[in-house]
């Protein structure tokens, strides 16, 4: 397998240097851009496998970069945000970014996010995979049946839809807006409470200890994530 190409759009040289020295180990080929414009240009020419996008760029905000990338490519975008940029982070995710990392982050965290992102990109090719599995949870999309440790779990249509939506991008965070739009429809974008409550139901049915979830992870203020191993 050829090394994946990563495009880092980040204005701070130190962060780029850290990424360069820790990622360029043979598995990844690193492209760097210090402004949004250059990042967009580089993405057009090199078609990277994953984009790492800083939210505090000098020339344009990360939300704008995300939007312009999404006009023509489905390449996974991982947003790097600092504390205090929570709203921008959610906006970038709503605009089509796949995941986020809050600075400061550790290398293992970053590598895990990149792996999840590249896995999605590969799966997008053959979407028709009918059965999704993580741990002892199995979702059969063709039969609309969910089993936990071999035993069927009875879900309401909304619960099933919620779970299936999360399973479409396992490991990645889905924002409240994305989930509400997908499961309830665009008229319900402000009804976060529906989501919280149904998520609680789903968790009670699927988790042994809802406070130590194995599958359904809350990202407070952002959304939910289906954990994969």
């Amino acid at each position: 397998m050829s090394p994946s190409t990563l495009l880092v759009i980040e204005d701070e040289a130190q962060v780029r240097r850290f990424l360069r020295s820790s990622l360029a180990t043979g598995d990844y080929k690193l492209l760097e851009a210090e402004t949004g414009e250059r990042g967009l240009a580089s993405a057009t020419t090199h078609h990277p496998d994953v984009v790492l996008l800083d939210l505090g760029l000098p020339d344009m905000d990360g939300i704008e970069v995300t939007r312009r990338l999404r006009e023509w490519t489905a390449t996974p975008i991982i947003v790097l945000s600092a504390r205090g940029q929570d709203q921008d982070k959610v906006a970038a995710l709503d605009a089509g970014a796949d995941d986020y990392l809050t600075k400061p982050f550790s290398l293992p965290e970053l590598l895990a996010r990149i792996r999840v992102a590249t896995r999605h990109a590969e799966q997008r090719g053959d979407k028709t995979e009918p059965v999704f599995e993580t741990g002892d949870l199995q979702i059969d999309r063709a039969k609309r049946v969910v089993t936990l440790a071999g035993k069927e779990v009875r879900l309401t249509p909304i619960e099933y839809k919620l779970l299936a939506t999360l399973a479409r991008k396992p490991g990645s965070v889905l924002t409240y807006q994305q989930l509400l739009k997908e499961v309830w429809g665009p008229r319900y974008l402000t009804q976060k409470q529906y989501l919280h409550v149904y998520m609680g139901h789903l968790r009670n049915k699927l988790e042994r200890d809802p406070a130590k979830p194995r599958f359904l992870v809350t990202e407070p203020g952002v959304g939910y994530r289906l954990k994969t191993d």
Binding site: R83, G84, D86, P104, R154, L155, T156, P157, I158, Y160, Q191, K192, Q193, Y194, H196, V197, Y198, M199, G200, R203, N204, D209, P210, A211, K212, P213, L216, V217, T218, E219, P220, G221, Y224
Partner: protein, 554 residues
């Protein structure tokens, strides 16, 4: 000088203002400018009753005729006193129903008809007996007196009703002003009421922080003085006197401008463009406008003083935070920084000379210290944001299990080697909380527990409903908190004596308290049975969770 508009005869009685000026001007040329010739000033609000319509006079004639008919049928020509009574009754009815003018008209008609039909010589206005002239006079005087009395009663009722309306209008505005906080909202309330009461468009210009006047009122009834109007505003502001329409200064302006004075300071200028430009010629209306302006001014002044006090409070708080931050920077931030610098320079300079174990140890130290630094900076940032009001709380009904889960996952590293016992009942209610803030709250409490209890000791997280409160508890098996510092631990920059080593900035629990209080709850610490500290907080469960459309089980 404006050309006088009053009647010439008044100049005969009093020396006119104009004459006076011309006489005393000496060398100075005096130009007389004529204003717009308008209708003579009339009271804007009719108080002596509206102009009586012609139909009322018609009715008074009809009633006089009717009285004649009734008297004729009942009494004929024999009982003159009874006939007079019938006429008087008719006149009273007219004066009650149609007012003074028509009743005088009815009185005149009645006397004429009495003479014509009932007093000999009949069907003639001539009077043969002088006694009848007296009867006519008495009847007429009585009719007029009764009409006057009725008129006065009516005027008093009108005045009372009018006074009551005035008071209630003023009261309505004052009450709404009292309920309104921010200056901008006050301005909107004032503009609306002034428009309703005075049928006018309103300009409200308030002194800004830079000492300049800025337009504050907005909405469909607001107008913004520009050009010449603005000059009048500035004149009014600098001279602290009324100007514009209906005053001696630039009476040709569209609006009447009044300076607005509170109890201590001036707050701005009020401009009023009445739909009837003559409205404020009426002294009563002017006085009333002054009363309204005074109320608005004192409300605005109150709001401004409150805002100043608030700002001063924030400044003091920020100042305190800044100085505490400085002392933090000098000590707490430097410790991890010097450790990191030392360890990193050792790695860089003694390249090759260190054993793999030593290198690993140094790298581990750098990692731990930078995490500590990160925690410190994060707390300082959070505290600043919480106390400066940047963070806005958005409560949503949600189950807390997910948030507990998120926190435990995030703190996986520092919690390694400990058992975390979660005790969340299945039937835990959904709670109205801000998810992000609750996460931060639990994170800080858990980090605190980790910091102050020996490695490897268990930590317990519990939650339950107590009446209308949601209560959570994070309990450790550390040394506990001595009773005399149970309150102090939640204060900013407080550090438990002897905590030394793991030292943060002493902000973690202060942040917790700020978050809990933002939810309307409280936080406290108790000794845990069997040893250790139990930090508890309660958040009121107010209102009821949203009702979800029921869904059938698939």
């Amino acid at each position: 000088v404006g050309k006088p508009t009053h009647a010439r005869w008044r100049d005969l009685v009093r020396t006119s203002f104009l004459e006076e000026i011309v006489r005393r001007s000496g060398e100075i040329d005096v130009y007389v400018i004529s204003g717009e010739e308008g209708a003579p000033a009339r009271r804007a609000v009719a108080r002596t009753g509206e102009r009586v319509p012609w139909s009322s006079y018609g009715a008074s004639v009809a009633i006089a005729v009717l009285s004649t008919g009734v008297a004729w049928v009942l009494f004929g020509r024999r009982q003159l006193p009874d006939v007079v009574m019938i006429y008087l009754l008719g006149i009273i009815l007219v004066s009650l129903r149609f007012g003074y003018g028509p009743s005088v008209c009815a009185a005149v008609l009645s006397v004429l008809m009495l003479d014509f039909f009932f007093v000999p010589p009949y069907l003639s206005f001539a009077v043969s007996d002088f006694q009848h002239v007296v009867t006519f006079a008495v009847m007429f005087v009585m009719a007029v007196v009764i009409s006057r009395l009725n008129l006065r009663v009516r005027l008093q009722a009108d005045a009372a009703r009018y006074g009551e309306r005035r008071t209630s209008e003023l009261y309505a505005m004052t009450r709404e002003l009292a309920d309104t906080r921010a200056t901008r909202n006050l301005a909107a309330v004032a503009v609306e009421h002034l428009h309703d009461v005075f049928d006018a468009n309103i300009a409200l210009l308030l002194e800004g922080p830079d000492g300049q006047l800025d337009g504050a009122g907005a909405g469909e009834f607001a107008f913004a003085p520009e050009g010449k109007e603005r000059e009048v505003v500035d004149w009014v502001w600098s001279h602290d006197k009324p100007g514009g329409l209906g005053t001696d200064t630039v009476p040709s302006a569209k609006a009447l401008y009044l300076p607005m004075r509170g109890a201590q300071v001036r707050v701005g200028v009020l401009g009023v463009v009445p739909s009837d430009p003559r409205r404020f010629v009426d002294a009563e209306q002017r006085a009333r406008l002054d009363v309204f302006a005074g109320q608005i001014a004192s409300a605005l002044e109150r709001a401004r003083l409150a805002e100043l006090a608030q700002q001063a409070h924030i400044q003091v708080e920020a100042e305190r935070l800044r100085s505490a931050l400085l002392s933090s920077v000098s000590h707490d931030l430097r410790t991890p920084l010097s450790v990191i610098t030392g360890a990193a320079s050792a790695l860089v300079q003694t390249d090759g000379g260190l054993s793999a174990d030593a290198r690993q140890y140094l790298a581990q130290t750098i990692l731990e210290e930078s995490q500590r630094l990160n925690r410190l900076v994060r707390n300082l940032l959070d505290m600043t944001r919480l106390s400066s009001g940047v963070v806005r709380i958005t409560k949503e009904w949600q189950p807390v299990e997910g948030i507990v889960g998120a926190v435990l996952e995030r703190l996986e590293e520092p919690l390694r080697g400990r058992t975390v016992e979660t005790n969340l009942p299945q039937d835990l209610p959904v709670v109205p909380v801000d998810g992000v803030l609750l996460e931060q709250l639990l994170t800080n409490l858990l980090e605190n527990a980790v910091k102050y209890s020996p490695a490897g000791t268990p930590i317990a997280i519990g939650a339950r409903r107590e009446g209308s409160d949601f209560v959570m508890e994070i309990a450790d098996r550390g040394p506990g908190v001595p009773p005399d510092s149970a309150q102090k631990v939640f204060e900013k920059f407080y550090r438990a004596p002897g905590a030394g080593g793991g030292g943060g900035a002493g902000l973690g629990l202060a942040i917790c308290r700020a978050i809990v209080e933002a939810h309307g709850g409280r936080i406290w610490v108790e000794p845990r049975p069997g040893g250790g500290a139990a930090f508890r907080f309660s958040i009121p469960i107010e209102g009821s969770p949203p009702v979800l459309a029921l869904e059938e089980t698939a």
